[in-house]
């Protein structure tokens, strides 16, 4: 096997990176892929609780890097799916416990083990971010349709390009269609104009995201959830499928009557 390593990052915190990693991972695993998620947020781990695996942690990422356990021992199997694993972050250490070259080695070892490695990056643009992108083949930048999140995304895109990691792809998360229609929220087109990178997903705002994380149950398996559907579409695009983006009717009735864009 030679896995593709995909890192999800954003600059700003709270835009939905961890939720995205958990849900894209579940969607890929549900398609029969072998997936390993790596929580790169050392000291502030959360992917374990979002995935509902917090009670099963024995070893973590820093244990692997410092040689206290073998890679396989730190991979927690999510039993709801045949081939989904999590390597949790260490909670009592900080990001200096890992270096970018450690991450490159770890990713190379994981490449032989599975089809996909999904790395959840911490917020910020310091060491933790550089660790998270070091071993990546593809980088996904997440943003919300909100001024500060878009500004931070732009900064991160610049840093990814400066690190010679190629142009990242964009996920716009928490889009509220009603607000876009009213002209009170940046549209996906506005954000694409500003950031000028390729789009890989549009995720609508959806209450079921919180409900799913409360339960530690993957949202992607809930067929009724619009956000879950959007994450499944991202997984399909990663696998090379052409999936149309959500039809976004952003022209409200009055705008149409007034002929305004």
């Amino acid at each position: 096997m030679t896995a593709k390593v995909v890192t999800v990052t954003s600059g700003k915190g709270g835009v939905g990176k961890t939720t995205a990693v958990a849900n894209i991972a579940v969607a890929l695993a549900a398609k029969g892929q072998k997936v390993v998620c790596v929580d790169g947020d050392i000291g502030l781990r959360n992917l374990d609780v979002v995935m509902g695996l917090e009670n099963r942690i024995v070893y973590d990422l820093v244990d692997v890097i410092e040689g206290r356990c073998r890679l396989r021992q730190a991979m927690i199997h999510d039993k709801r799916l045949p081939e989904l694993y999590l390597i949790p972050a260490a909670q009592t250490r900080d990001k200096t416990a890992v270096s970018p070259s450690d991450m490159v080695l770890l990713c190379n070892e994981l490449r032989l083990e599975c089809d996909w490695v999904l790395v959840d990056s911490p917020a910020g643009i310091e060491r933790g971010f550089h660790n998270a992108i070091a071993g990546a083949d593809k980088i996904i930048v997440m943003t919300n349709p909100e001024i500060s999140a878009v500004r931070d995304a732009d900064r991160v895109i610049g840093l990814v390009e400066a690190a010679e990691k190629g142009s990242p792809e964009l996920v716009v998360n928490r889009l509220n269609l009603a607000m876009v229609k009213r002209g009170d929220m940046l549209s996906v087109d506005d954000i694409l104009d500003l950031l000028a990178i390729e789009l890989i997903g549009i995720v609508p705002e959806d209450e079921s995201v919180i409900v799913a994380s409360n339960r530690g149950a993957p949202l992607t398996l809930d067929a009724k959830s619009k956000a879950g559907q959007a994450f499944q579409n991202i997984a399909r695009r990663l696998m090379g499928e052409e999936v149309p983006f959500l039809e976004l009717d952003t022209q409200g009735l009055w705008q149409r009557l007034l002929g305004r864009k």
Binding site: V150, D154, G158, V180, G183, L186, A196
Partner: protein
């Protein structure tokens, strides 16, 4: 934004967010503050004036965006050389 705002032509908040972001991103990406841009403009005027006669009041220096790359665009109107020679 409600109907009343639209009738009286108040700007939608999304378009002001976009305009503000356009401005802020240019400066984030280039690391050029508006003050530095002004200083650059003054230096340019001084240098170019040593070689040709320009209308220094009409010089404009802007940062234009082209995808993810920026370019510095200078518009420097020249004064008509023949006219000044016979003046």
């Amino acid at each position: 934004m409600n109907f009343v705002d639209r009738i009286i032509g108040r700007k939608q908040s999304a378009s002001s967010a976009k305009e503000r972001l356009q401005f802020v991103l240019i400066h984030d990406r280039t690391d050029l503050t508006p003050a530095e841009l002004e200083a650059l403009k003054d230096d340019l005027i001084e240098t170019i004036s040593r070689h040709v006669d320009i209308d220094s009041t009409a010089v404009s220096i802007t940062v234009a965006q082209d995808g993810r790359s920026q370019r510095l665009v200078a518009d420097i109107p020249l004064r008509n050389a023949t006219r000044s020679r016979f003046r």
